[in-house]
């Protein structure tokens, strides 16, 4: 098809490398894009050529039969500065609330965290993982799902041995309002009672 072929193989390779944080082999790219390894090699060449232009911020790293996307070497100072500043930054309300839910409720699934907070928590969880404040592991009962726990280093920092030592843990971790929220999260549009009062109703007063 005309429109299909207008998007070059170079473009598709770039999309795949962009999403993948690690090197990908030429063989794997060839399989994923149903193209010969020779075609992939040409695509990678073209990509590398394009990245040489001064307006590009990316670079292609080749290591034998593997390829990986990275930031342009000349931009390293800016990149480093951003990594450092991000880690020194204070955590926002959303991230702190997510941390508190993991601390009091961990091990806890993302779906439960979302339901308890009433909003999607994926950005907050990613930040907390990067900062080593929480850990992620596959749910032993459902391999498709992860569960989140506070990290040991977090406990060390807080000077406690387990989350049971958090203030008012027994009451707060079993607050009945939590269960009510989690129940509602798997209801679909159709079967939720209309009288259901949403969490943000109070803002309307």
């Amino acid at each position: 098809m005309k429109t299909e072929s207008a998007i070059s193989i170079q473009s598709k390779i770039e999309s795949l490398l962009f999403l993948h944080g690690e090197p990908i082999s030429v063989a794997r790219l060839s399989k994923a894009l149903s193209a010969s390894e020779a075609e992939i090699e040409v695509g990678l060449e073209d990509l590398a050529q394009r990245y040489v232009l001064p307006e590009s911020g990316l670079t292609l790293i080749r290591n034998g039969k593997n390829a990986e996307l990275a930031t342009r070497a000349e931009n390293a100072p800016d990149v480093e500065a951003m990594l450092v500043s991000d880690r020194e930054e204070t955590l926002g309300k959303a991230t702190m609330e997510t941390l508190s839910v993991v601390a009091y409720r961990g091990p806890v699934s993302r779906a439960s965290i979302d339901a308890i907070r009433g909003v999607n928590s994926s950005f907050a969880l990613r930040s907390l993982l990067l900062r080593g404040l929480i850990d992620r592991r596959p749910n032993p009962f459902d391999a498709r799902e992860f569960e989140y726990t506070p990290s040991f280093r977090l406990f060390e920092l807080l000077g406690i041995g387990s989350n049971g030592e958090l203030p008012e843990y027994a009451t707060l971790s079993r607050d009945p309002r939590l269960a009510a929220r989690e129940e509602h999260s798997d209801a679909t549009d159709a079967d939720v009672p209309e009288e259901d009062v949403p969490e943000d109703a109070r803002t309307e007063e």
Partner: protein, 244 residues
Amino acid sequence: MPYHVRIRQFEGPLELLLTLIEGRKLDITQVSLAEVADQYLERLASERESISLSNLSEFLVIAARLILIKSKMLLPVLQFTDEEEESMEDLEIRLIEYKRFKDAAEAIGKMLLNRKRSFPREKFLGAPETFSPPKGLSTDVLRRHFLSVLGDMPVKEALIEEVIEEVVSLEERILTLQASLRKRAEYGFRELIANAEDRMDVIVSFLAVLELVKQRFVVVSQGNAFGDIRIATSAVESDRKKES
């Protein structure tokens, strides 16, 4: 008790109105609004039980506007205040706007189904994880944030209670009206609303009368264009009384 299955094609008053107008293949105009007014009131009366409390007041407000529009069509000599004129036109604007969003929702739905979509990159993908807690983190800070999450939980609040009051008042009004009519055979609508505190009060009374007409408890008549609406116990109801 048998299962009560809720089957409703519409969620709100605007959707109901639009369904009625489109069902007759009409454009959205004052004339078409007047044409479907009766149907709207009938549906409202027959499906009131399945309408949630939080939405009922909006159904009633729109019912009141439809009654205005209909009376304007039927009695062109009637004078309306600027506010009333505006509220009639506003309903038309709102309905057109609602229809646009309903169509847009469909278009967006189709877009979500096609396979064209972008994927983002994870934050700092490939960067090493380093332990970097925020300054001042303590168990008490965690406790406070957890409490704030708990505080976001649903609270039954005033808004809903107000609506309940409105509904209760509609029901009460019907009972009061029935009781009054048992004592006296006929009432004037003006008499009925003499003590009305506000517009909503008048609307509630009017709806109460409509409800009673629907239940064949009363019949209403109007002598001339500007005359008062006379509300009288219906023949059916008088017979019922005699029998008992």
